[in-house]
Structure formats: C-alpha cells, structure tokens
Symmetry: C2
Subunit: 254 residues, 2 copies
C-alpha cells in the first residue's frame, strides 16, 4: 500500500493518521450505499461491518474528524457523507490525466468511478501517433508532445501513469515539471520524485506475490495438520482484513 503504507516520512496532516485517511474512502463508500437506500442513521457497529473493519477502529477514526455522532443513537448518514467528503477534498472536482492508453489505460478511461466522486478525466495522453485523435471512452487521445500544455491548460494536479515500466520515470518527470503533485503509478517501477510530490503505486504482480506467500504457507500447514491431527472445517467467519493499505497493487511485470 497500496499500499500502503503509504506516503511521506511522517506527517501531521492536521493530525489525521495516515492509516485513518486510507480507510475514509471505505467508510464513504459504505455510507453512500446507505444514503442511496435512504437509511437515516447508522451505528458504529453496523457501519463497521459494512466497511469490513471493527467498530472500535471506526470510532477511533471518526474521533480524529470530530464528534459527529450522537450517543445512544449513532451517526447521521448524510452528515457523515458530507464531512468525510470534505475531509478528503471531494467537494471540489479534480481534473486527472491518464498517460499511456494501452489496455490498462483504456480500462481506466472507461471506468465509471471517476465521474461519480470528485474526479474527472481531463485528458488521455499516449506516445503512439497512431492513437492520436482516436476517441477512447469518448475522449480523444492526445500526443505526449503536448503533455505540458495539457496539464497547464487544465490545471491538472493529479496524474495517472499507465505506461510500460521503461517510460514511467520519464513521463513522471515531465508531469512533475508541468505542475502535477500527485501521481498514481500503475507501472512496475519505483518512481523518484521531488519532495512534496505524492506517489501511490498499484501493482498487480506484487499483490499476487503476497497472495502466493500466504498460499504457500497454507499448503505447508495443511500438510502438517494432515500428518498430525484432525483437519479443521472452514466455517464462515466474516472476512479477513482486506487490502494493503496499503500497501499497496497494479499492473505489469515484476
């Protein structure tokens, strides 16, 4: 994280711990679903279950935002949606550019999740002249040559890199030079950026490797259990904490 896992050396982001920030989007999603079903209030227990965390953690997380609950009752859904949105900076809309319109870039461009919550695909950029002008998800692809102008004209501060690993650092440098200060990197490379620029990476092969580690461990345990005792039947015990923070997941070779 993901990630994870996550970000600058330390951070006193107006006091909200990084681990809490990473969970706010989760709460927001669960709250949005409740809001759509017109549920007026929710308890920490219910909301925690919907978000896949435990209720003590959720209450602690919310305590960093302020006292938005009512004792004996719970939280007002609409009000919390607003407070979390504001905290995450989603009350404004963020223009985003996607660089690298291959399979993955196209998938991202077509992805509906942007529009819904504060993000807008301002431009698609690719180095292949054959793509230039072709519409993907209704947006014409522009050529890398114009990257700086596109960033500046649209006031973009968030960039998504979906290029091959070899091109990522170079693209990153140009994005940063043009004024981008937050980068979501899908290329399997460590990007080096100046202070003050945030990078989050999404890396498919890392996630798979972490799964393989645990899978292997399970196989070992199973063998040991078989040799020694009664195999335990799997009972549905709701979930196992999901996601890296983190740490971290994305797309390309190791």
């Amino acid at each position: 994280m993901a990630t994870g896992r996550t970000h600058r050396p330390a951070t006193r982001s107006r006091g909200i711990p990084e681990a809490t920030v990473a969970r706010l989007p989760l709460y927001l999603r669960a709250l949005t679903a409740l809001s759509e079903r017109s549920v007026p209030t929710v308890s920490s227990e219910e909301l925690a279950a919907a978000a896949g965390v435990n209720s003590a953690k959720l209450r602690k997380d919310f305590s960093y935002l302020g006292s938005y609950g009512t004792r004996g009752v719970g939280y007002d859904v609409e009000y919390l949606v607003y407070q979390i949105s504001r905290e995450l900076g989603l009350t404004q809309d963020w223009p985003v550019v996607i660089v690298g319109i291959g399979n993955l870039g196209a998938a991202l461009a077509n992805y509906g999740g942007f529009a819904s919550r504060g993000f807008r695909v301002a431009a698609l950029i690719d180095a292949d002249p054959a793509l230039t002008g072709k519409p993907v998800a209704g947006i014409p692809v522009q050529h890398t040559d114009d990257l700086e102008k596109i960033i500046q004209d649209n006031g973009v501060s968030i960039g998504v890199i979906a290029t091959p690993a070899g091109a990522a650092q170079q693209v990153c440098d140009r994005l940063v030079a043009a004024g981008v200060t937050s980068i979501l990197n899908f290329a399997p490379t460590v990007l080096s950026v100046p202070d003050g620029v945030d990078v989050r990476k999404v890396d498919l092969s890392i996630e798979l490797q972490i799964l393989a580690f645990h899978e292997q461990r399970k196989a070992g345990e199973e063998a040991a259990a078989e040799a020694a005792a009664v195999p335990a039947a799997a009972t549905r015990g709701d979930s196992a904490d999901q996601g890296p923070d983190g740490d971290v997941p994305a797309v390309m070779p190791a």
Copy 2:
C-alpha cells in the same frame, strides 16, 4: 492493502512480519533488474535505493529470512533472488483464473507480468455468452457456468475478480466453494469470505481519494505559506515512500 494493509488478525507466518512480506516483491524486482545487468553483489544501501526504502529497514527485513549477506561486502544477487523467490513461493507456478473479462479483465489477461514470475493464466471466465469462445490474449473465454469445473480441473487456488461490484460477492462465493483460497479483488466491494481465505483488494478510486486528501492539504499549506513566509523551492530529494502495502488500489466507482 492497498494496503494495506492486509490480511489475517495477526500471523506468525513462520515469523516473517506482514510488512516485510509486502516488501519482498519489491526487493525481488530490484534484484532481478540487477541480475539482468549481471551485477554480482549489492550493498543494503544500493539495493534499498533501488527499491525505494531505507537501508535499515531492508537489513531488518532480510534478517527475518536468515543471514544471507557478507559483512563488509553485501549480498550475492543471484543467491538472494533465489532465497526470496523461494520464500514467496515463486519456485512453483500458480495457475490463476480471471473472472470478468471487461476492459479491466482483458487488460489483466494481456498483462505480461504473469508468466514471468510464477503465475500462469489458466482460464478466463465471463458471464456474457457473447464472449464465450472468443480469444482474449490468446486464451478463449469460458462461461461462468463452468466455473467450478475449471477451478477443479486446473487445480486453481488463486482467483482474480474483475467483475462489476454487484457480481463480485457471488463470484467470490463460487470461487471459494470450488476451492480457491486466495483472491485478488478489483471490484469496489468488501468481500466476505470464510476463515482461511485471503483477500487482497485493488481499488483505483480509493487510491485517488487518498491522493486528493494530500493534494488538498498541500493547497492549504501553500496558501498558509504564501500568507506567512518564503515559499520553499522543491529540491529533488529522492522519493517519498510509495504505496500502501498495502494497502492497498483498484478499479470501479466509489
């Protein structure tokens, strides 16, 4: 994660901390690059720089695996590649199924990173009959009806879910019932699974929201700085820790 972040309540996975496991793939990638350039040995300082972490952390991480370095010299690249691969379970190959062959599923299927490191796309599965039989990335798509048979025939224990959010839990239940014990979830939903099943999630909109939070904070600080004092020039200070472990990042609406 996305990290983040990550996995079971605790874990004494033969003693290796979860945070360390999440970084092993990073080290492995950096080592593989060195290996390709025929570099024989590397110091913790150099390798840490290549992986984007600090050297104390790296040495501590490696200390959980054993004493694989040579004092005064560093680590033997080939040897470390082997040890980490073994630890991660990458010396065997893992058949993987991808369920949901939309834009994202197709991108994943076409992604070269599988083959290279221990993973093999055993099958592509989609609920749309119009897709059945059509090759994607050279592999014919099979229908959801045959999911159980496909899992069993191929001995699949790792599944990737790239369906819309609404279908994810149902697909997950079927994968688990058929014997899958590790799931990489790209759908923006919290999956509920029995004990003993690992889930990692990759969620694009969560990652973007975390970036937006920091972006907003920067804007606020900037304004404060402008009002109060000399704006600091950005000097290239290599990187800011990347990625949620976990945490982890993925694809669909909030």
